[in-house]
């Protein structure tokens, strides 16, 4: 955590670099010069599978566009972790919200729901880790993780999983915790970490070269899908991450040989300029 600032002595929100006042500090000498329109071309996410590790995805929700191809859930039964087939439902609405954001950006991508959150929107840390491991094992290209664990005891497990994902070419996109403090796996360098900004545009994103959070995407007052065919307006890093996931899916569909570092580099190179150009 950086130094305290101002009379209120509040620590900076992790979204602070992406707020209007902070964005001027995001400038850097770009090692890659990429034109955004040329880089993304007409990509639509075709051929890419995205795992939504969350509260489930409502298969029939209009916002998901019928792209949900599989649903599983992680259960912990007397210490044993099991991955079971799940029906396409969402016990909260949170996963459907994420899926809807991804689908809006990458309409031709397939979605796989991996349910770890319960009706109280909480997950067992081990179930979360097992979900990520399963996604890697399935060879799924991108995982949207709009959740994180603050359990220090899971540091090593998630660190190992982040490395496994990196080398297995599964891009992990993780929302930073909404309150400042360590959370995993979003803090690891192999993960694309995302916090929220308040520019109401899915195609506005920022790159922050200074940790802990690398990317800023729209996450304030975002109109999102919710359970039972509903819609709400929601705020949080949870809704910023799927924007980056959707963009990553476009890049993955266009550059089929891309590795996680390629995608991250392209996302950084095509990000909006933070400060005066």
């Amino acid at each position: 955590m950086t130094a305290l600032s101002g009379a209120a002595a509040s620590p900076p929100a992790w979204s602070e670099p992406f707020e209007a006042a902070g964005r001027a500090g995001l400038g850097r000498a770009q090692p890659l010069a990429l034109d955004r329109a040329a880089t993304f071309g007409e990509a639509d996410g075709a051929g890419v599978t995205i795992a939504i590790v969350d509260s489930g995805v409502e298969a029939g929700h209009a916002a998901v566009g019928g792209r949900l191809v599989a649903s599983v859930r992680v259960e912990i039964d007397e210490g044993r972790i099991r991955i079971l087939d799940d029906d396409g439902r969402d016990v909260v609405g949170h996963g459907t919200a994420c899926a809807g954001i991804v689908h809006a950006l990458a309409p031709a991508a397939d979605l796989v729901s991996v349910r770890v959150l319960g009706p109280d929107n909480r997950a067992h840390g081990l179930a979360f880790a097992a979900a990520v491991e399963w996604v890697i094992g399935q060879g799924i290209g991108i995982a949207n993780l709009s959740l994180s664990s603050r359990r220090e005891s899971l540091f090593a497990a998630f660190h190992d999983l982040a490395d496994q994902a990196y080398f297995a070419n599964t891009l992990l996109v993780g929302a930073a915790n909404n309150l400042p403090g360590p959370s995993y796996p979003s803090l690891f360098a192999a993960v694309v970490s995302v916090a929220a900004h308040d520019v109401p545009d899915p195609w506005t994103w920022f790159y922050n070269p200074r940790p802990p959070v690398e990317f800023g995407a729209w996450g304030v007052d975002v109109p999102v899908a919710w359970r039972d065919g509903g819609r709400i307006v929601a705020t949080g890093n949870s809704f910023a991450a799927p924007h980056i996931t959707g963009l990553a899916a476009l890049l993955r569909s266009r550059y089929t040989g891309a590795m996680p570092f390629d995608i991250k580099a392209m996302l950084a190179a095509t990000a909006n300029h933070g400060g005066p150009a």
Partner: protein, 282 residues
């Protein structure tokens, strides 16, 4: 390091630990907690220039109860309780995630009933969890910032206040832990004296702690108990020999307490029940 902490025997170490905690606990009686929490919500209202701010705490009955509030529209909420999962505070309690809503009335997740009961219907709400380690112990809410919608920096600021409140509550929990530690250590002392002791007997011993403190137990409160704790607290500055002597005396006292027998008979709620039911001395 105080002299008492130099004591090396297990009994002395337990006593030293009790004494240290008791000293802290005495300074944080429940009224002090309320004052502290009130000052936190007051500061929150002023910083955000908000219509209201409140803190709700999770009670042992599983409901969330609004404990303190500040601001022109805050007072109606005090004493109100909601189920976990109910309303905005209930949602934050349940999920452990902060929530910022620009337009409460248009969000299908939250019924208007709770707000209606307070007599004030907010337009925008910021709610952050009060967390201790992995547990959510309550919720800090800020209603209607006059300068516009809540932003993400507001969320981080509110989290600082929530953290302060959680720490204050944690200290008072230490206060309650003193009572528990005392019970456990007395039980251990009795055990070392060669007697097998059940949890019920341990409670009976505590019920008689007034006798240990040299006063009869009153039916009306914890005064005797706290007198006892007070005396233990003084052990903190005692030399090891003194602490050891007190330990020996306690050992003997525990072995001969009438309360060990009488405690069972004295019906009514034990201190454990009372501590739980009062929930931080409310």
């Amino acid at each position: 390091m105080s002299a008492a902490e130099d004591a090396t025997g297990p009994v002395e170490r337990v006593l030293a630990a009790i004494a240290g905690r008791a000293e802290i606990a005495q300074r944080l009686e429940p009224p002090a907690l309320d004052r502290l929490l009130r000052s936190i919500v007051q500061a929150t209202v002023e910083l955000f220039d908000a219509e209201a701010a409140s803190i709700a705490l999770l009670r042992p009955d599983g409901r969330l109860r609004f404990r303190v509030a500040a601001g022109p529209h805050g007072q109606g909420v005090i004493g109100l309780s909601v189920a976990v999962g109910e309303g905005i505070a209930g949602y934050v309690q349940q999920t452990g995630q902060p929530l910022a809503l620009s337009d409460v009335s248009s969000d299908p997740r939250f019924g208007r009933d709770t707000a209606a009961r307070t007599g004030y219907m907010p337009r925008s709400v910021l709610a952050v969890p009060l967390e201790l380690e992995d547990q959510v112990i309550g919720v800090l809410e800020v209603l209607d910032k006059r300068g516009g919608a809540f932003d993400l920096a507001d969320l981080a600021r509110a989290a600082v206040f929530a953290r302060q409140a959680a720490v204050a509550i944690d200290v008072v929990r230490v206060d309650r832990a003193v009572a528990r530690l005392l019970a456990d250590s007395l039980a251990a002392l009795a055990g070392e004296a060669g007697a097998e002791i059940s949890p019920e007997e341990a409670e009976a011993i505590i019920a008689s702690s007034g006798a240990v403190a040299g006063k009869p137990r009153s039916d009306t409160g914890d005064a005797d108990f706290w007198t006892f704790v007070d005396r233990l607290a003084r052990l903190r500055s005692a030399d090891p020999a003194h602490a050891a002597l007190v330990a020996d005396l306690l050992e003997v006292a525990v072995g001969h307490l009438p309360g060990r027998a009488a405690g069972h008979a004295s019906s009514g709620r034990s201190w454990r029940d009372r501590v739980t039911a009062e929930e931080l001395g409310e």
